[in-house]
Subunit: 206 residues, 4 copies
């Protein structure tokens, strides 16, 4: 497979399947031993293939991590947006956003752990951390959340507040649960979800 094939869109069916398999193994590896120790050989071991095959299907370790990250983001977006779109009211959408986000963390915590490992560890060749890379266009979820908030303000359901700050706060509150072990140990995810919905509801109220 030449350099082009590795990044171009069209691959053979078998090639695509291999890439998928490698990405899944990488997710498992990141969850189990963390980014620092997640060497290609550790990933290959979990995939049951040789390291060389990873290099064959991805230009680079970086390339693999990028694809992996895209896949992880895509999945969580699909899950959360699907739940949001099912609701018709702004309040319903906001609640759905929060609940679905936390649900996803609980159900696919392996994915979430892998996501955290990548975002906080991987860096571009210029040493820019991935978590600082966030491009407006890419941040689909944040965009959706802001849209809900703006719509709520427009319809009078929500009061006056800085949408960017409120959205950031909500995302921080959601993400913190996974990360803050003191809370994780003390409060179960259902309680956290419903309490958070209440608090945000009050904070956004007109």
């Amino acid at each position: 497979m030449n350099e082009n094939n590795k990044t171009s869109g069209k691959q053979s069916f078998i090639s695509e399947a291999r890439r998928e398999q490698i990405i899944e193994a990488a997710i498992k590896t990141l969850d189990e031993i963390g980014y620092v120790k997640a060497s290609l050989s550790q990933i290959a071991k979990r995939a049951g293939i040789s390291t060389a095959l990873i290099s064959y299907h991805f230009t680079d370790k970086n390339d693999l991590m990028n694809h992996l990250l895209m896949k992880l983001i895509e999945r969580s977006e699909l899950y959360i947006l699907e739940r949001v779109r099912r609701e018709s009211t702004v309040q319903g959408k906001l609640n759905a956003f929060i609940l679905a986000s936390l649900d996803y963390q609980g159900k696919y915590h392996t994915h979430n752990a892998a996501l955290i490992e990548i975002i906080f560890n991987a860096r571009t060749p210029d040493n820019i951390p991935y978590y600082k890379l966030g491009d407006d266009e890419e941040e689909v979820l944040l965009h959706e959340l802001k849209q809900i908030l703006r719509n709520g303000q427009g319809s009078g359901d929500f009061g006056a507040f800085n949408v960017d700050v409120m959205a950031t706060m909500i995302q921080g509150a959601i993400g913190e649960y996974m990360i803050n072990s003191v809370t994780t140990k003390k409060v179960d995810i259902e309680t956290y979800s419903s309490e958070l919905v209440n608090i945000i509801s009050k904070a956004t109220k007109a």
Copy 2:
């Protein structure tokens, strides 16, 4: 320097100065190139010393990182708690907590970046990520925040809400600003601070 001296409290003045210098260089290194690339030789380069000297003053790379982490946590705690204690009302204390936390991030963002790098990258020998290690006793700031919230509920200044959830949410909201580059680019820290204070104020109101 023998094994004991490396961890015992009393060191010579010059030795203590070197340790300090190494720790500062390590902070700089973590901020600049991230945990993954922060090798002893990179740290040594920034400190202008030999790698061996780091090994001489710290038993281990792990030992260095632990001391560094302790120092970083200690500093931010001192800064924030000092500001909180200056206030007399619960509302004042809560606002001070939020503002001081964000101020610290803005003023010492190198320290904060280093803290993030360590917490999300370092793992114990059993592969437990540092961010999952959080021990109740160690989490001084979270404890203080909960105390403020409980006092506010007791005095009637704050309404009814789950203290653990509210505290976690506030911490998430504070931490997110540093991490969420979209927001960092769009909203300056003063705006974020004051808006967050307003939102939390409304959310906690009786």
Copy 3:
């Protein structure tokens, strides 16, 4: 090559050849510069390969040394036992044992030097020197020697003596030639061999 392959019996032809080559280079290295200085890079230099390739074919430096030791012991055992088994009388077997042992030292003195270097230098992780590890089962040559002595006593060819002591003495006398440079310089190996045969013959006589 995965962890398993390194120790399991079946390897590819080319892999086995490389392992052989590395072991031979290690023998040469031990003979030339001794165990203490026999680093992987010194061995690699003599094998004309990279250090990493040694790590690829052996799990460990220890693993390499163990394989090397096994090979050396095996070779000397094969050589000596073959010569002993050609003889039919106990006296013939005893003499053959002594002569073959000294012949082996003379012919393959590089191997013998390497053997000495390993046995007296290598230690287990618990600091037990290899030369103190000798397990009855493993000491094939000592066992064979004792068998000859016992058979000779049974048949009346040999007189009464403590078999363990006599066998140890013979082994000591054989090994000493290589080690004692004063004697090595003064007495050639053929003289030493024939004289030792005479002396032992007298000592064991009925």
Copy 4:
């Protein structure tokens, strides 16, 4: 202390005491962890001093090992020769030589272990192993042993045999006991001693 002082004969009393102390610590270290791991810092630790002080009192690690070796050889020579000289007959002297040699090993097995570690591990800068260095003049014990054998042959107490070979054989038989763990475990030193005396007695008989 300048370069000269380190090797010249006359040192201050305190300096001589320190050297003694270092040498004793080195012996202990060699016995406990073997030559390979016997770093200056390990020796210093056992002596309760700093590594720099060893470098101050000995030009070199090699220098320390040479002095240590001399001391060890000297001690065993004194012990054995004293016992030999107490006897008047050649047979008595020969037996005393064997018994005293084995006694020394039993009584001072720490010293003996250290001796073995040095002789088989240390090498000159030209990579000549110490065990191949043996100079006729230095080998006082071998010389004494040969003298006894020659005297015995002269007086008619002993028969005809090659003195060099017989002496080497006896030394090998003595040394083997310490080294051969199979025998060490099976035969106690008293039995080995008396049996060896009997065997040698028969082998040397007129």
